[in-house]
Point group: D2
Chain length 296, copies 4
């Protein structure tokens, strides 16, 4: 397939690389062109303009937030104005439900299709083609995109024809992961001040009731205070929590745990954690309990 | 081994039964003698008095809370006064760290040993001998008890020589489970009002990032509102959250998520949930969002 | 002075009436023209269009939220496009800091002045000319407007030359009032279930430490469950709390109490309180404690 | 009247002094006898023993917490064992409802009366005889004590015949004050990072909607970070919040704002604030927002 790919960050780049490996004809575009270089050497063509990236059957966007995506879609020469009728815009970004709903409508008015296909997994999983893809949109359009999803992910989950449903699944999943970070942060602060060995406690947890990868992976990061290696940056954690709270407001669902997470992310950023991994919020419970030690 | 067993509730009874099956000589005692009947027919002897249950090498207590355990230990004719020197009191109950520390001291003053050995698992797991046992106390005493632990559980985790460390592990683990209940309650309320199928969403979660049994088991209970089948009663959830908060106060660790859980359990009890399973706190997020439907 | 007045809701109407009484030449405009009738009979002229309301030295807007104000300012024929150079736009609405900053910039680019002048007081205070006005903006422009502020309020507080400072004061003040609602809601639920007479307790409070009007006024409303008489509607309470949280996010200030309020307002709206006064959030603590009784 | 007075801390000492000034015959007792010296020079007699302080018509206790009061009442030679039949024990301490209920019962069984009479006011108010006294207990006993209350306070509020009702009023009032501390802490952190002058903002508040003394007094302390002058120590703030939460648990009333306060007090103590005034919790919101500056 002929695919445009816009947004070559630490998730977008490995995803585009896997599309190339999957045999697709990929045209890449990025605000900072230098990031396209490695992909060009793997066989991608660099688009001279946004419009140039929109000439295929599908254009894939992987951008950091609502503003970035809105700009790329609606500005002069943007996706909405240049994508062919019947072509498909696949958004892998984590965006608000409101923007997803608006994109669905605006693309439909132009005879284009919109598919939301956010992904789960850290950059390592993206590089390994092991992402989980969550897709929603017009059935025919999603079917058309399945080969692309198979190139970037290990499995695709479909959530119906309303694109924003996939976005809701994505932000809900991230909320659950952040909840695990908070609960681990509190409990590890407690057992440490209570005299236990944190690693022994974590080993117990993850070999009994909490065998899920999130507990193992993040538990280890928290104990080692290994927050400098950024898989998912703290400001994105704040952004996603804000999206969860906005969804809660849209549907009238109070979310006190999400509110707690929001305040944690804000405190993390305010105290100097802008460049840390989002799991650093788990350090705040320890700090509030007077435990010293800046993240390694 | 000659073992006394005091406290034949929905956890104690199957545990005592497994001790009998394990070939131990078991003398059972319960405030309500009728509960001892099934065990007697399986080979236990019924103790005519508390003291009568304390004549073996080990006496095992499985009681509901601090008050119940304190009474059984310290009252006239209680364990502290009748257990032999060098005999061992094993407490499987979920109690406060303060009481555990006091029991360690009081038993030591009488030449007795105290081992804290709380367990993880619902009654079904207790019946199947599949509990996880968390043990702490004098090494020799814990070694002596290992055959008992192997009869009731699938695996024993040791946390050093200070008995209350095992209690800290227990309440910390329960806090983490309750955190999962809250996070699932919020997210399931959100996706439902957002138009998703809750079961499909849960299936996605538990086949990707949240493969741990707690997510599967409790997620299912919450979606079905199956809170009438009580594995662990709501008032015990409140009790354990109180113990977690007390530990936090003892060690000066603020625990905002535990505070949220406390208020959830209180609201559940205040609104009529005394006789429900503790997982019913997950229903409160749905109720706060205006979703009707009493638990089935 | 020649003043346009846009937005004749339950605050705007009495304010415009007081401007007329103050001897100013007032041209009123409202989306629903019928609301202008009483003011016309008091001496106002009805503007045939938005532009017609913008021909004086000052145009005053009193609208419900960011969207309403943005539309009135930026649409074709809106304030930005029709207000004379050197004329002043005074916004009395409670809006976001971001919009206030944008208005300051956009008006400045057109040679117009922007003054933010939100007010404190319920509709009764507006009718009595007893509002507190909080004003910020270019000093000369604020000076020019002082006679208007004196007509609508009992006292004007100035907060410098950056208009959004006045908006920050407004949302901060509303946050404090909502905090009082929450604290009273909790404590009145507690003393009632504890067997005290709520009114006697409130009388004690308001004659000792809590003599401020907010405690007396709102305490009485809460005890009587008198939430049907709407001075300030619940959805506006949610909006203002959202503005407070947004300001907190802009300045990186975690606000856990504001987060709690947000969840309370959402729960109130989700449970059917759309048309109640915002003080009805104080009823939620009672409901969570199992106290029955729908608001009168 | 012949009055014993037990507990000469920073509240008890000025209260006892005012009883002496009021013409009563006062016998004082304190664990640390040195604290009695100033009172003896003002005309008090020093009791050689607890029992010696219990020979009058009334014994007044002003102690720091449940444990201290329990010990003084129930130990050998304590109040319960030495107070005459028909004599009155007045407790001014802030204690749990459970202990108050128990004291009412135990004294009644001995033919003694128990009156709970906690007070509102900081040490300066105690010295000036300006406390507010909240009294509950047997009507005759309370009447008998009125001259004492008039000596220590400016006004006495009566809350019926169940002593613990007065304790409930006291902890409820303290909860409301602590709520003001939290709300001021958050809002002052916000306006400061938003570029406002904190004092100007506070002046606005306290001359409009928030005229109550608590806002003026504590607002000033918070802005000046004047937490070293201790009117009411931080650990007592934690204690009182715990009492409020316990009352909430007793009556099944979730109190999310009290839960937030609890975590604030714990964080304050954990971070080194043991010896500060309780108003220092208001500094935590500023710290969480990255504002530096240790309390003066």
């Amino acid at each position: 397939m002929k695919v445009g790919f816009i947004g070559l960050g630490n998730m977008g780049s490995p995803m585009a690389a896997n599309l190339i490996k999957g045999g697709h004809e990929v045209v890449v575009y990025n605000r900072t062109p230098a990031k396209a270089q490695p992909l060009v050497s793997q066989g991608a063509r660099y688009a001279g303009s946004l419009a140039d990236a929109c000439r295929g059957e599908v254009v894939f966007t992987m951008l950091s937030d609502d503003n970035a995506l809105e700009s790329v879609v609606f500005r002069d020469g943007g996706i909405a104005h240049t994508l062919a009728r019947n072509a498909i815009h696949v958004s892998g970004s984590t965006i608000s439900l409101a923007l997803s709903d608006r994109l669905a409508q605006e693309h439909a008015e132009r005879g284009q299709s919109f598919v939301a296909a956010p992904v789960f997994g850290r950059p390592e999983a993206a590089a390994a083609g092991k992402l989980f893809v969550v897709a929603a949109g017009d059935n025919v359009a999603v079917e058309t995109c399945m080969p692309l999803f198979e190139s970037v992910g290990q499995r695709t989950f479909r959530f119906g024809e309303k694109p924003s449903s996939a976005n809701l699944v994505k932000i809900s999943g991230n909320f659950l992961i952040a909840s695990v970070l908070e609960s681990l942060g509190e409990v590890l602060a407690l057992v440490r001040k209570g005299g236990l060995d944190q690693q022994q406690f974590l080993d117990f947890l993850t070999s009994t009731l909490f065998t899920a990868p999130v507990y193992k992976t993040y538990g280890g990061l928290i104990i080692e205070k290994n927050f400098q290696h950024v898989g998912f940056a703290a400001p994105l954690g704040l952004k996603d929590t804000r999206l969860t709270l906005s969804a809660g407001e849209m549907f009238r669902v109070p979310l006190p745990l999400a509110s707690l997470l929001r305040d944690r992310f804000l405190a993390l950023l305010a105290r100097g954690g802008e460049s840390l991994d989002w799991s650093a919020i788990a350090q705040l419970a320890a700090e509030d309990s007077g435990q010293k030690g800046s993240p390694s």
